[in-house]
Amino acid sequence: MFFRMMNGALLRQKGKMLMIAFTIALGASLATAMLNVMLDVGDKINQELKTYGANINVVPKEASLLDDLYGVDERSGVSNKYLQESELGRIKTIFWAFNIVDFAPFLDTKVTLNGAVENVELAGTWFSHHLDLPTGESLDTGMINMKNWWDVSGDWITDAEEDSAMVGSLLAGRHQIAPGDVISVAGKNGQKTLTVKGVFNTGSDEDELIYVPLKVAQDLADRAGLVSRVEVSALTTPDNELSRRAAQNPKSLSIKEWETWYCTAYVSAISYQIQEVITDSVAKPIRQVAESEGAILEKTQLLMVLITILSLIGAALGISNLVTASVMERSREIGLLKAVGANDFPISMLVLTEILLMGLLGGVIGYFAGLGFAQIIGHSVFGSAIDIKPMVIPLVAVLVFLVTLAGSIPSIRFLLSLRPAEVLHGR
């Protein structure tokens, strides 16, 4: 009987009921899209921000000390302590290895260019270096990934092209070097002729540099197997009070706090773990970038939470209008049910079940539409797909349920206050 009555009501008010389902679908789709994007956006924004460079700098302990004491730039050639190239793979074995997106080593040295008197800086690095890790995994890492925003005329070079170089735009401008030109560089340990494959423009002081494969710089500087620093790009968790205390002095934490900190992807924790695996190294967060990442992430998520809340409030208001109209249209019928002895509860249940059914229909449609929206947002804002998180399903279900219930409140109040005597005698 219950279903027969509900069925009848649903069919008779098909238009209104579909409007209710549609309104719920709109709200649900926005909520689905926002939640999916929000849960995925941490990675997305971090990846986006990663293009602005590395967020951890690893240097030899001694160079770091000199740097701190005298403010001497380790690139100036004063420091003569180095890190071992052979240890670099260990960076991908730390607790937060998965969060290490890219890293590249640098060996900085001074050379003379084309026999001129003044020294220019030359850095050897990995462009896209294949690493086989002790864990059995392998990866390709280096400059091409890490500096993908560089404006390069000509081409990137590969690590195997040991007769090639890339030249910064300022240096290239001063010496009238263009892609395809041949230059000659002389270092401590001999001289080398290189073909310029690309000229890059970064807008930073890197535009004064010559980049060559690491091996070439090591030969020129007579520093086989050594590097002077490593830049690491890692996905990090925004700093909080704990991570700030840890960054100042990890020993000030209690054991429990220390464990929490160590097992969270704070930039300070990742730096600490890198220091643990690279002999005599100091890993320092490049702080401003790391902090702004967290701030932007939090703001973006706040914005999405607000949009979700607003859209759900909108949906609730929309359905409350529609449902109230539907119940008012049926006030004679509801009055009759009361007159033949129906209590408020079963009548409310009848109406609520109808609306929740519409909520279910709208919620399912909205969920799938929302997955579509999420991908559109992913592609237009982040240029990549959004990972679909299954945990969004129960979240959206609960939200739709609450919104539908909230939207039904005015109509239920109307229904409760409806007096059969007033609707049954056609006054």
């Binding site: 007159a339 033949v340 049954l424 005698h425």
Partner: protein, 227 residues
């Protein structure tokens, strides 16, 4: 024994006394008609007796219970268990068949019982139209479905507010026949009507004017039939 007793019952809307100090007793098994000009308080009285409204003053004793003191929830229960309501308009749920419309009252009373509902339709002569929707029934037939619905839970009191007001002569007679039958079976019936012919059928006629009982006429119908 009185099934229904109104004692000093008033219903006041602002300054208007829709009912003004009504005293009335209805013995079990009586067929009572209420007449009076429009606006004299007939419907107001039916609503109070039918547990759909409460008097401003006075008490209404139905089957030993003062319904003017009950809360809405128990009023609903009393209405469901003891009263059968028939209105001038037919008030059927238009997406349910005649049979289902009768069963709705069973559903909220106890359990829908298709056989019993079918018997109720048979009593009002509509067994053949059980599967029809209200829109497929004539006015008279719709009112008979309403009567079947009012009777389905064996009410001790049948309240009908102008049940024949929207019916033609032929249908009016069918409805009156049903009432006569119910009366013979011992039901207590209160009928509001404008129609003297309908009122004639009752044992007593209460005439309301301006919310007061103007007079009560005894109908010695038995004697008239003999004469």
């Amino acid at each position: 024994m009185n099934l229904l007793e109104l004692k000093e019952v008033s219903k006041i809307y602002g300054t208007l006394k829709a009912l003004n100090n009504i005293d009335l007793s209805v013995p079990k098994g009586e067929w009572l008609a209420i007449m009076g000009p429009s606006g004299s308080g007939k419907t107001t009285m039916m609503n109070i007796v039918g547990c759909m409204d409460k008097p401003s003053n006075g008490s209404v004793i139905l089957d030993g219970v003062d319904i003017s003191k009950e809360n809405p929830r128990s009023l609903t229960a009393i209405r469901r268990d003891k009263i059968g309501l028939i209105f001038q308009q037919f008030h059927l749920i238009n997406y349910l068949t005649a049979l289902e419309n009768v069963m709705v009252a069973q559903y909220y009373h106890s359990l829908p019982d298709e056989k019993e509902a079918m018997q109720a339709l048979e009593r009002v002569g509509l067994a053949g139209r059980a599967k029809h929707l209200p829109s497929q029934l004539s006015g008279g037939e719709q009112q008979r479905v309403c009567i079947a619905r009012a009777l389905i839970n064996y009410p001790m009191l049948i309240l009908a507010d102008e049940p024949t007001g929207n019916l033609d002569e032929a249908n009016e007679n069918i409805v009156l026949d049903i009432f006569r039958q119910l009366h013979r079976e011992g039901s207590t019936i209160v009928v509001v009507t404008h129609d003297p012919e309908v009122a004639e059928e009752a044992e007593r006629i209460v005439v309301l004017e301006h919310g007061k009982i103007a007079r009560i006429e005894d109908n010695h119908r038995g004697e008239q039939e003999e004469g």
